[in-house]
Symmetry: C4
Subunit: 245 residues, 4 copies
């Protein structure tokens, strides 16, 4: 295993984890970001229950992608580690995963409603509603619960594999949002967007947009916003900007 890429991955994963409290996405220690090094076959993730203020690069835990064993680190990795691993195995194009309990995204997860596409802020990042999974079954809760938390996301998206690239996030029923992206940083930024559009959607729904008097946004508007930031014709940002999914 080449140490240098891991050092830079550790740095990125630490920085992304520290952005969780900065962006107001977490209460206490509720949130974690990981980043994968597919060549090395490992991912780097936040340790369990450590506060962001105390977190150092050394605290991060390196976990094997194939079987989830701890490869480096003296602390126990996040309890959500197996969920991250499941998503990395299912979606080969992603490089980072973020999980938070951000307030408004959790409200949609608890209400078991997808976050609907109500405007361009949503369409800039998510090319469709952020979907909500089925409840886990008693069997899925009894054994390998955290891996199965990833599985309900994977099963939901299986019928349309492109969706995981164009809608880089999902709500686990009664639980909260998981987002992903090409890098740890991108997955964190998608978590920030997921919370922001959830809050906007909640207020929009409160204003009665869904009470029958308002049509859905026109598809040509949504498509324009998604494609100006993503894909071959994208023209948003500058060279050194964070790559989008």
């Amino acid at each position: 295993m080449n140490g240098t890429p891991l050092r830079s991955l550790r740095r990125e994963v630490l920085a992304a984890n520290l952005r969780i409290p900065e962006a107001g996405l977490a209460t206490l220690t509720w949130g974690n970001v990981s980043g994968v090094d597919r060549e090395a076959g490992v991912f780097v993730i936040k340790p369990s229950g450590v506060s962001y203020a105390d977190l150092t690069e050394e605290d991060l835990v390196v976990v094997a992608l194939d079987d989830g064993r701890v490869v480096e680190g003296s602390l126990r990795p996040s309890t959500d580690t197996e969920t991250h691993r499941c998503l990395y195995l299912a979606f080969p194009s992603i490089g980072g995963v973020t999980h938070t309990h951000s307030t408004h995204a959790v409200a949609f997860a608890q209400a078991r409603r997808p976050i609907p596409v109500l405007g361009t802020t949503h369409a800039d990042t998510f090319n469709g509603p952020v979907p909500v999974t089925e409840d886990l079954t008693p069997e899925q809760c009894a054994k390998d619960y955290e891996f199965n938390t990833g599985q309900v996301i994977v099963q939901m998206l299986r019928s349309d594999p492109r969706r995981a690239e164009e809608v880089p996030g999902a709500l686990v029923s009664r639980h909260g949002p998981f987002t992903w992206g090409p890098t740890a940083t991108a997955s964190l930024e998608n978590a920030v967007v997921c919370e922001a559009v959830a809050e906007m959607a909640l207020h929009t729904l409160a204003l009665g947009a869904r009470l029958g008097d308002t049509s859905d946004p026109p598809p040509h508007l949504l498509e324009r916003h998604y494609t100006r930031k993503h894909g071959p014709d994208a023209y948003y940002g500058n060279a050194d900007a964070v790559p989008a999914v």
Copy 2:
């Protein structure tokens, strides 16, 4: 009385009180944390009406557990002191108590609705709804009001003593949340969680989860979340993490 444990208890109680404004749980001076030294028969609590910015270890007041007299300190203890004392006497396993007027938990208290279990964020800390007490009677208000504020909590939980351990908090009707835990720090963190899940619940209810179209969370999911953080099979956190209730 051994000075050293009290010094360390004072330090912890001061730090926990300072986290009240940091966590956005208090307006002005509305919130207080205490911690008990059962061997010494005393607890340490915030003085009344002193702002967090000015608070020092020396300002903290040491109160006798048996009769509520001030043992150390030149300031008057929090007006809520007798409520803390009542809870310490009723629940021998707790080591800390926190009271705040945090916005969303107060809204549930004022609406006289328990905070319902709508998802895993709640179940991670509270193994059931956060209950709301009966109103105090005119007699309970006229004499020993603050002690009686603790009594209405104790009476509510009397029928099921395990509940105070698994649901470490309650809403006093028309008033606000009291939370507790094995330490002052844990009681403060339970206050943070109480406010967070109250806000999430308020938004979830606004999204219509309770309007007939949504079932309750499945018990196997809630149990999994509670037991992975609490009890003999817990696997959340690391050695030096804050102990949960």
Copy 3:
């Protein structure tokens, strides 16, 4: 005029104005505190349109209580100065006045609903609902508009002069909250409480407390909370605490 008391009043008024943005009560420059020196027959108030970050003691304007002329200061006083003057003339016991456009109190003013007493947080400071005035008439808007803004408050409270002491604030219809108190600092703290209880009330109402299934708080509870902080039997706070109204 004795310079020393004014110097200390200026210091207090400056500090109270700076707490407006700290407490999240103002957008841009929307909020002002004044304090009166009744012996000198003047009050000290924030200048109009100056940002809090730039505000100095020298910028504060000294205004004559009897006719509103500027006595000291090179800047124009707050446009709301005549409203403050009207309140000082009508309520001889008050020493400070605060006006803000804090979000939730303004929402009640815009909805023309008093802030109802839904719990002890409110009763700790306001011994009754925070009332909302009548709309100003075209005549009251055409001439001496700002003084008349004070007049609609005074007229509303005229029938019960004790109310201005026990409920130290009011909402001007379609406009926002004015609060007062024995000092500039106390008036500012009452503005903080007014916003906090407005937000709590808004969420409580959203939870359905007023949809027929919830009774009003029992009067004995509210009275206990008001009297433990106010009047001859008060036992809240410590010697050097900010005096309450």
Copy 4:
């Protein structure tokens, strides 16, 4: 082209852009301010996708007013640049434009509801509701999308050209707010007000002001507030205060 005015314009545009995150108006990089130098025939605008923390005066991009070509700067200008240019061409009196995705203003845009005039906070800045545009057509989205985003605002206001001066902002349907003013700073402050009054309106509507039991604010009140800050009889603020539209 005279370098000195541009240097001072760059400084103002940088400062106004940095106030976007300070005022809580933006998530990630979602928001941009520009300022125009009509004599030089150019405007200065934020580059695309650069975070506020990293933004320097040198990063700002100078764009020609007549055809939108980049005149100075090595970075790509904001994707919204053509919308700004369209507004400058249509409204010759304006000197600055701000675009944000601030939460509550976006909620009104997504619900396709104008922000109604519910009180004096709104009337102090906007002499009427903040209007919402029609949806862009498929043709307007397919070609020159960003310029057409400005066009739908211009078309909406064409029938009443004075409106753009007295209501210095508009909501683009399903998208968000654009505000303007005599300077870049004024356009930013109008964005701050737009978000604040949107939040107040949302809460006011939640309190039922529009459920049939409340009348509209009386026109004489609104006019008084607008004219005391704007026009020949304005008496708000001090000499060095930021000029209002």
